[in-house]
């Protein structure tokens, strides 16, 4: 399975995402922000970092990059897309996911290993987890506080589209303790914490994050 990882100017965790895809058994394909070609990939990861320096608003400029036109179109046809941290911000800015990510309460950048609860296994990226499974992955962001209007929040909860929730109080003040959400069809998932940094206990707090990538690959293999 070919999984694309986009590099924007200022992307930082693209190499980590490529490694995670590889360790999960997928074939990573690097995608360039200025291209209009997804190179026949079967899924796309929009990685973390500070695309375009996060100037204007986090993710705002990247959401308008040529490659994102292709991602939005392909997502409309059901292409699985995973946005991590800055990638989540980009997906929100691109309109693929509702809500927005704002400055953390406390105003500090937060880099910390956190426990997350998998609230939905009905997405392209979480099918391999068990419901309510707790996983440990790092959070590292300055603008990770998920916000949305009451109607959107109620809808996300009602439709089971909250995919990851912080265990205990959300350190960034995210509404509803939301760490990650999915699109209506469950194909597009965005989360603030970094599963690609939790693929090997040598370099991360656990290997729990690999589950997102293996979920996708397993589903594809059994389909």
């Amino acid at each position: 399975m070919r999984i694309g990882v986009i590099t924007f100017p200022g992307s930082l965790d693209d190499i980590d995402a490529v490694r995670a895809v590889r360790l999960a058994g997928g074939e990573p394909v690097t995608l360039w922000h200025a291209d209009r070609d997804l190179h026949r990939v079967d899924a796309v990861v929009v990685p973390g970092g500070f695309s375009y320096g996060d100037y204007l608003r986090a993710g705002a400029i990247a959401a308008r990059a040529p490659i994102m036109d292709e991602v939005v179109t392909a997502a409309g046809r059901g292409l699985p897309v995973l946005g991590i941290c800055n990638g989540f911000q980009i997906l929100c800015e691109a309109g693929l996911l509702p809500g927005a990510l704002t400055r953390n309460v406390g105003l500090h950048f937060i880099c910390r290993d956190l426990r997350l609860r998998v609230e939905s296994t009905a997405t392209a990226w979480t099918g391999g987890f068990t419901p309510d499974q707790e996983i440990t992955v790092p959070l590292k962001s300055g603008e990770g506080r998920y916000v949305a209007d009451d109607t959107t929040l109620a809808r996300l909860e009602a439709e089971g589209r909250v995919v990851f929730r912080y265990v205990g109080r959300a350190p960034n003040g995210a509404m509803g303790g939301i760490a990650g959400i999915a699109s209506e069809n469950g194909r597009v998932v965005g989360l603030m914490p970094h599963p690609e940094h939790a693929v090997d206990p040598l370099t991360g707090p656990s290997a729990d994050g690999l589950g997102l990538f293996t979920s996708l690959l397993t589903a594809a293999a059994t389909r």
């Binding site: 100017p9 200022g10 930082l12 965790d13 190499i15 980590d16 490694r19 970092g49 500070f50 375009y52 320096g53 996060d54 100037y55 309460v105 406390g106 500090h108 950048f109 937060i110 880099c111 910390r112 290993d113 956190l114 426990r115 440990t136 790092p138 590292k140 300055g142 912080y166 265990v167 205990g168 109080r169 959300a170 350190p171 970094h194 690609e196 940094h197 693929v199 090997d200 040598l202 370099t203 991360g204 707090p205 656990s206």
Partner: protein, 799 residues
């Protein structure tokens, strides 16, 4: 985004003076330029050389070199390149000792040393690493966020200039008292600046230091370390050779930021800066743009990979003055630079200002003519502005032209290397005798178990010993996915080669109180601690760098401290058999008339053949045996206990025994290589008590221990004798490790066993982990957020 393409195309043409088109409209009538011809014709023209920091004899020397008065642009170049910061004029005579004490055996792995942008050592499997620490103390005091941010940016470019990919950063920081109002102004800004810049660059921050002491109140120390990795064959050195090769300036535009003292020259030329030319006076602290630097890193690495670069130099202190004169004097020819081609971001800049600007995120490369198009194409792909600004010539002069007139015509070596050398008076002050005589013996010590228990808690909560998480949680330690150890570990560990697991460990240390008591021994203690911290990770120490932060070199006592520190470090490195590969000197660190504590920060880099063998620094498993390695003596001079309990500084620092450090390090590396160690933690500030507290809290489990029977419990807990570590081993391996330590000549004491919800110290008391954690973790959040903690441990991963 700025598009590089149109500029690149046009600026290439700018080499031809006829077609030259300035990037920004320049103001000032023709003839207002202080050209070489004009300088020759107006020998009596008064020049503000004293305002630029030059002494009378230095100015006379410049006139002698040139055979005329310097132009404004030349004066700007000489004044900044002959400054203490760039020329090391007060320290040079002492720093030579590093070279004199480095033997051929110590040089075997060294590919580049002192004098290059950063030292380079070979680490095996065809890999080389480069590392360096630099100070950004004064800018960080003036403007904490930008001062600290650009400190990170500058050291990262130094590493890039060696041809390496930067792989990690770390920041030794020192501030005034933790509860001082000015610390509340400076510290949060410095931490946010380091995080804001480093996180956006995508470099893991793997360690550093945080120290509070009253001597830093008016002069915090913000030191920045960067490590880079490269294939041995990719080493790039800064030199300009090959007549006809092009000089390409790439990265950000050049502006008025960071011009500092040179602005006095502008007032000679412009009667009314603010109104007449649309120029604004900008702060002397530079402003950083980490996004530009991140793109510059990727762009540089692509240029190196395509072999499009002959020589490269970063633009840091002294900007283009430094880059052009250093490139030219390291090469075999001359250099011609056309300043009109330099892309500017301010109108009406003078040649002197363009040459002196310290605008960030700029690099200068020497490129073969046939590679220029390919070079510019790579820059375009990354949207990096790149401009040909000159070429290597067959002469031996550095010439700079502006509007068709020559404004600089100098022998480049006289700017870059032949600066003044001072032999400053060196004298040990008599006050040193009183300091050493003030023995901590006289200080009342806690003795009853309840007093000792309370002291452990008080120490754990004290600003220099408490959890650094408030700071380090603001830094990304995960990015690039190669971090195998970071704060609160004793050393940062980074994997360099994913296929072989080869990696490096790095630590920086300095107990400046020890250095104040005995600069020679104190600096060796700093070296010993950094060396030991690297060894705790299982790595073999290989190389040393330093950042020597001292007071005014015009104070003979400060120069005595400096000379002793250099001698101590060099002799110490010779004893350990590892070379000093580079360093940085920062003088004039004073609060008012009072010098800071002498603070020679020592960085040690070690190598792990396989990072999966790295050893964690906390109690990682239940039921392991806890062993104390090394000798404990009654040594409390300069200790954290004397500082916290009595605000006392006096006596002698702990004894130095580098042979013992070496034996200990070898033992640790061997045992780690055989996977015999489940945890190692260094004993330093706060002694055994603090090491036990940290090992428990970092590992998330308690321990039951008995203090060494032959020692007074207070001494056992709080002495800061050097050369000691705590190790944990599987109980089945305890005898083997014990025997091996005895064989290696390392004293061993079995203290107890890990596990349980508390640190239980026999005859002293039981310290519940929750109580310890509350004490250890709430200090910095309370000081700098005004509340004990925003953290909710329910959601946090078990350590």
């Amino acid at each position: 985004m700025t598009s590089a393409a149109p500029h690149a195309a046009r600026d290439q043409g700018a080499l031809d003076p006829v077609d030259s088109t300035p990037a920004v409209d320049t103001v000032g009538p023709v003839g207002s330029v202080d050209s070489v011809d004009r300088a020759a014709a107006t020998p009596g023209h008064p020049q503000p050389y004293r305002e630029l920091g030059l002494k009378d004899d230095e100015y006379a020397r410049i006139r002698e070199i040139l055979g005329r008065r310097p132009t404004d642009a030349e004066l700007a170049m000489y004044s900044v390149m002959w400054s203490e910061h760039c020329s090391y004029k007060s320290s040079k005579v002492h720093l030579r000792y590093f070279g004199e004490t480095t033997t051929a055996a110590m040089r075997t792995r060294m590919l580049a040393g002192i004098g290059e942008n950063a030292g380079v050592v070979e680490i095996g499997d065809g890999w080389a690493v480069t590392f360096k620490i630099e100070s950004h103390n004064h800018p960080s005091f003036v403007e904490p966020y930008q001062g600290a941010a650009t400190g990170v940016g500058g050291i990262v470019r130094d590493i890039m200039a060696m041809g390496a990919r930067p792989i990690a950063v770390a920041d030794p920081l020192r501030f005034g008292p933790a509860d001082a109002p000015d610390t509340a102004r400076v510290l949060p800004g410095v931490v946010a600046g380091i995080g804001g810049y480093g996180n956006c660059l995508g470099l893991p921050n793997i360690g550093g230091e945080l120290v509070f002491d009253p001597s830093y109140i008016g002069n915090p120390l913000v030191n920045a370390l960067c490590v880079g990795a490269m294939r041995v064959e990719d080493l790039h050195l800064a030199f300009a050779s090959g007549t006809g090769n092009k000089i390409i300036l790439f990265g950000a535009r050049t502006g008025l930021d960071g011009i500092g003292g040179v602005s006095v020259l502008a007032s000679d030329t412009f009667s009314d800066d603010e109104l007449g030319t649309g120029r604004k006076k900008l702060p002397s602290v530079q402003v950083g743009d980490p996004f530009t630097e991140k793109v510059l890193i990727e762009c540089c690495l692509e240029l190196f990979a395509a072999d499009l670069v002959v020589g490269i130099q970063d633009l840091g202190g002294a900007g283009l003055s430094c880059a052009t004169s250093e490139l030219a004097s390291a090469g075999d020819g001359g250099m011609r630079v056309e300043l009109d081609a330099v892309p500017l971001r301010a109108a009406g800049m003078t040649p002197a200002e363009i040459l002196s600007s310290e605008s960030q995120e700029r690099m200068c490369a020497v490129v073969r003519p046939e590679h220029v198009d390919a070079f510019l194409a790579v820059c375009r792909r990354w949207d990096v502005l790149a401009t040909v600004i000159g070429e290597v010539t067959d002469g031996d002069r550095l010439t700079v032209t502006w509007h068709g007139e020559t404004v600089v015509d100098v022998p480049p070596r006289t700017v870059a290397h032949d600066g003044p050398v001072y032999r400053r008076p060196v004298a040990r002050s008599e006050s040193q005798d009183a300091l050493v005589a003030d023995d901590p013996e006289r200080l009342p010590r806690p003795a009853a178990p309840s007093e000792l228990r309370a002291e452990i808690l008080r120490m754990a909560a004290s600003p220099n010993l408490c959890s650094r998480a408030w700071v380090t949680d603001q830094y990304d330690r995960y990015v690039r996915g190669n971090t195998a150890g970071a704060q609160p570990a004793d050393a940062g560990v980074v994997r360099v080669d994913e296929s072989t697991g080869r990696g490096i460990a790095v630590a920086t240390d300095c107990n400046a109180r020890f250095v104040a008591l005995d600069p020679y021994a104190g600096t060796q203690l700093a070296l010993g601690e950094a060396y030991r911290n690297v060894a705790t990770s299982g790595a073999v120490p290989q190389a040393v760098t330093n950042c020597l932060n001292f007071g005014s070199p015009e104070d003979p006592h400060v120069m005595w401290q400096f000379a002793e520190a250099v001698r101590g470090l060099a002799d110490g490195c010779a004893a350990l058999g590892i070379p000093v590969t580079g360093g940085n000197v920062s003088f004039y660190n004073q609060t008012g008339a009072t010098a800071i504590l002498p603070t020679p920060v020592v960085g040690v880099l070690g190598v792990l053949d396989d990072v999966t063998r790295r050893v964690p620094s906390g109690f990682a498993r239940d039921g392991d045996a806890v062993l104390l390695l090394g000798t404990t003596r009654d040594e409390l001079g300069g200790s954290e206990w004397a500082h916290v309990a009595h605000a006392h500084l006096g006596g002698r620092p702990p004894a130095v025994d580098l042979a013992a450090e070496q034996r200990l390090a070898r033992l640790l590396a061997e045992a780690a290589g055989e996977r015999l160690l489940t945890g190692v933690h260094d004993l330093s500030d706060g002694g055994l008590a603090q090491a036990l507290v940290e090992a428990c809290l970092v590992g998330g489990r308690g321990a039951a221990v008995t203090l060494p029977p032959l020692l007074d419990p207070f001494v056992a807990l709080f002495s800061e004798s050097a050369g000691r570590v705590l190790v944990t081993v599987d109980p089945a391996d305890a005898d083997a490790v014990d025997a091996r330590a005895q064989q290696a000549g390392v004293p061993v004491e079995r203290l107890g066993t890990t596990g349980g919800p508390a640190l239980d110290i026999a005859t002293v008391g039981v310290l519940d982990l929750d109580e310890l954690r509350a004490a250890w973790e709430s200090t910095l959040p309370t000081l700098f957020d005004g509340i004990p903690s925003l953290r909710d441990r329910a959601g946090e991963a078990d350590p």
